[in-house]
Subunit: 454 residues, 2 copies
Amino acid sequence: MNEKIPYKTYLTESEMPKKWLNLNAFMPEKHDPFLNADGTPCTHEDLEKVFCKECVEQELNFTDEYIEIPEGIRKFYTNFRPSPLIRAYFLEEILDTPAEIYYKYEGTNTSGSHKLNSAIPQAYYAKNQGLSSVTTETGAGQWGTALSMACAFYGLDLDVFMVKCSAEQKPHRKEVIKTYGGNVIPSPSETTNAGRKILQEYPGTGGSLGCAIAEAVEKAQNTPNCRYVLGSVLDHVLLHQTVIGLESKIALDKYGVTPDIVIGCVGGGSNYGGLIAPYMAGKLRGENNIDFVGVEPVSCPSMSKGKYAYDFCDSAKITPLAKMYTLGCGFMPSPNHSGGLRYHGMSPIVSKLYHDGYMRVEAVEQTKVFEAAVQFAKCEGILPAPESSHAIRVAIDEALKCKQTGEKKVILFGLTGTGYFDMAAYKKFNEGAMTDTIPTQEELEKGFATIPKL
Amino acid sequence: MNEKIPYKTYLTESEMPKKWLNLNAFMPEKHDPFLNADGTPCTHEDLEKVFCKECVEQELNFTDEYIEIPEGIRKFYTNFRPSPLIRAYFLEEILDTPAEIYYKYEGTNTSGSHKLNSAIPQAYYAKNQGLSSVTTETGAGQWGTALSMACAFYGLDLDVFMVKCSAEQKPHRKEVIKTYGGNVIPSPSETTNAGRKILQEYPGTGGSLGCAIAEAVEKAQNTPNCRYVLGSVLDHVLLHQTVIGLESKIALDKYGVTPDIVIGCVGGGSNYGGLIAPYMAGKLRGENNIDFVGVEPVSCPSMSKGKYAYDFCDSAKITPLAKMYTLGCGFMPSPNHSGGLRYHGMSPIVSKLYHDGYMRVEAVEQTKVFEAAVQFAKCEGILPAPESSHAIRVAIDEALKCKQTGEKKVILFGLTGTGYFDMAAYKKFNEGAMTDTIPTQEELEKGFATIPKL
């Protein structure tokens, strides 16, 4: 039967999910609540000062298993979704593996990644609430691009704080955001207190997601009729990303296929959480024993080397505290070529799943990641983003294990985006000039020291 | 019924075309044959010195209406096709037009354009013939990227002569080609006689497609077991591109929709010829009266200002002569931001169709083209290539005419690629620094003077 599975499966519009899956409702034990700096749990009111009202509703919803996707969002979803579920026949052939490999490819839209899945609802809810502008941060630039597209569509102004080293590596990415009307500010910047403070402490720093978040939050709070929107980490972002997993499962179910392993890269954790959601919901209820793998860079090993503790989501300590795996909100990762994975913390949901033993984590080196990326590009045709290539690396490794053991495992991985804007990184790799940076124990300790003591 | 037409239509694998459509077989009057420099018609043997054997067979086939797509090609086609046929509901809404607008979007693959449709068969036939390498030219870089992907897949070495001003505008495009193993040489270069000669005549020139072709042909002829492959102009390239039109028609036929106008940008003419093919085949037999529109830049007006004459396909006059609309093989177009449309000549098939009154041509200014591109990007989400945006410009203009007249015309246009690698051009436009260049009568006359007198 599997021989009939096509290279690509697209759902029809009527097959597309009409509800997101709320993983929080399936968790037998909920993750710890967000806290204010004074240690009190965050209320709706606390969070609504920073985020859009509807997003806060979703963030604090631990009961509804499914949440309706409004018509106005599904309309724009239909414009760039469904994304294809691809059977990696060419990769299987090159690897000569008995494994079946599938990947869900989120890179066919102009933002080049899965980020649009959450940018659209967040812009939609902001507009519905009557806001006139939003602020955000962006690492690799994919989130900023996605949000600029969503803001152009719904009619909102936008300030994007872009991690400085990414802004320099990807000048063209900046220009895409500007073309869609977004205002790009390299971070750390002189435009906020948070930025100025970090520039004083770390002159010449390439910046980090944590620092850019701090600037964006500050800007939103000082601008009338404006809120901050975030591209990952939070539960409502992960909720929006469940369209990835839901579409994948609907497509695989058509062929009677269930994955044995599900693999995704983890930066803030939302794409990964979204990909695994429908399968993880089953595992949480004891209905399957799928092997879930989150892949992170060795240069920013939030889960494999991090502590499970309450920490700030940003480096300026102005966001609420989340219980998560963290390297410390003051951890400054060395520049690498996966801007989207350079974050000190991790989604509270993903952190809780890891902590409770429902998934495992692999940390991989970027040279090995780019080897996998180029091997994949040459046979499957798609030039993957460095972030996504972390998942490819582990998918290939798992398929090669199957070759040794003879197991016909079914591997599903998330291919979150394209590498079109990462050619500076590919150039470095092509020229043999790429290196790996692993944080020293001293650097880790320095980061851990910035985790607040409650 | 039309209300049920989805945003996007994807064919299933079994619905995908298994044959290309050979427009030459449908032409009541065939176009004039290729000639050698001495004025004698080109034989198979003449052409096989330059091109792959099977491509020459196809080039000289004026009888078979359909030509089988080999299994080995359809396999790779299935990896990145079908491309979506998209109903431009968002654009229709913004324009407030009674027209129905559809576009066939070829930009979802990594090469970012339709070029892969012909790169794959050409690399496949080269490999089957036992060649070890091929050479080519590239303008915007899309063809070079596509061919590098195809060569990586089938295992062939590749030299790409890239028009110098494009290579400078798009350093990252170069790096994609290198990532897939292609060797990029900015043209004019010092590596060939043709390049050296042009550099002497026009020091500091940004190059042209005609010049890059000359260098690639020379390199192929001086390299053992190597042939030259071309990304447009020739009949066999147009043949391969008919998958675009065939897929479009199969999708539209499902909904009982027939276009009133079909619009495509024309550089060498192959994407346009491929898009219109199945509908034009009908028009040639008197079965429809569709309005076919080819759109070219005013800065390189091969059809609207060119002469219908025998001319060389390259500026060094080493290729065969083709009867086509031409500005003269020595015409040096001013640099603009649509590298793929900067060609002095035009596909012999498209030239013949235009000459015989089966289609019309519009020449548009690049500032107007970028206005259309940004309007389209903001509502439809897709950031279009400057080349493709020529078609968008005219599609919007036609839809606005319908708004005035109240006509509910059905418009189909070809969206050949993405603008990811054209951000330098968008930057210029965003900053208001873009200008239009229209060749003077003197410049045109200088070009015409280079058309050979037979």
